[in-house]
Subunit: 196 residues, 2 copies
Amino acid sequence: MRAAERLFAEGGYDGTSIRAIVAKAKVNQAAINYHFDGKDGLYREVLRVAFRALTEHQLEHAEELKSMSREEALSQFIRRQVQPLLGRDEYSRHMRIFNWETVQPTTVFRNLVAEEAAPFLGLAADLVRRFIPDADQRTVTVAAIWLLGQCSVFVRNREQLAEPPVGLVLDEQAVEWLSATISNWVVSGLRPLRTN
Amino acid sequence: MRAAERLFAEGGYDGTSIRAIVAKAKVNQAAINYHFDGKDGLYREVLRVAFRALTEHQLEHAEELKSMSREEALSQFIRRQVQPLLGRDEYSRHMRIFNWETVQPTTVFRNLVAEEAAPFLGLAADLVRRFIPDADQRTVTVAAIWLLGQCSVFVRNREQLAEPPVGLVLDEQAVEWLSATISNWVVSGLRPLRTN
DNA sequence: CAGGAATTCAAACGCCGGTTTGAAAAGTGG
DNA sequence: CCACTTTTCAAACCGGCGTTTGAATTCCTG
């Protein structure tokens, strides 16, 4: 599972052969079929744990956010979202598997999202709702997705952004700055409901 | 080329076989090797035209933006960015090929970005600079990427967002509303340089 | 410790991928 | 029309893929 997670994160479903997985894990090739019912089954399992870990990463701190000011809460949320920028840890690996799916989602993934993404999206929606309490449902939902987009663009394109012409290298300090900057923009973006 | 573009957009590089392309284009299989020097070469060519078309789509209107107010200009830019939400046209197909590359960029793509993305990114940077004229270089660059992220999250996840639990269906009117809403948030987000 | 179930393993199978081949066809300039 | 180059084509080639097989080994229980 650990080997599979790493390789799937690196090369995606199609780009990862079970021969590569068994070589890395030092197990027999047929064992995957025996235990996981084929490559599909193994991938499904990896995807499940990755997805769970990702949403729980935010949800387990959901309670804390409620006791903060709306600005603080939003800032914390954003900090958590951009955290995978820091390194090749487990979290950023899960994020990468997740990213592979966004281009052409597997059925497994579709179901996972349909069934389990609601709490996470709800968390983001709650956060923005504190800024735009009078907005209708659709606006709040869009605002939540909008919020996620502002973080994910940096996470998703991390490697690309590190190269020319951008050359954005992010150490711990820079990530802190980035998250603060985004927070600032989001907060002042949402604060005035209508400006014109 | 046309057949290849469609299929590569649909299934990505690995997910598209030469045999599928030649079947759709009704040409002989060996012809691709003869004319394009293999699958790689064909893909490279498709990628090139897609990339050119994408950046030019924005750049050819760059001049007009300069004569507008900064709010109008930003709004126009955003409208163009979210336009592929509307349908399966050529532009959104190019966007999709582009998306495949963001997960694991080809060398070809890396070079294309390094060589030709600068003008496009510069356009976005110019737009935000009009709101934060005193900001340093890095802040402007980050703001430009941040701006792009707010649009791309809707474009990239269009199909996913149309399903539960979000259920965001976007007709022409809704896209207009979305682009106006994002513009509002971005504008008021950038307007006050510092709020705390 | 015996005996049956669960697990591991090396090898082989069938399939599909991109590429190569060498001959046939079409095009071109003298 | 002829020599020559360029382009098309069907077939074969080779490698990597996921899966299957059947025997060997390990594990567990009575």
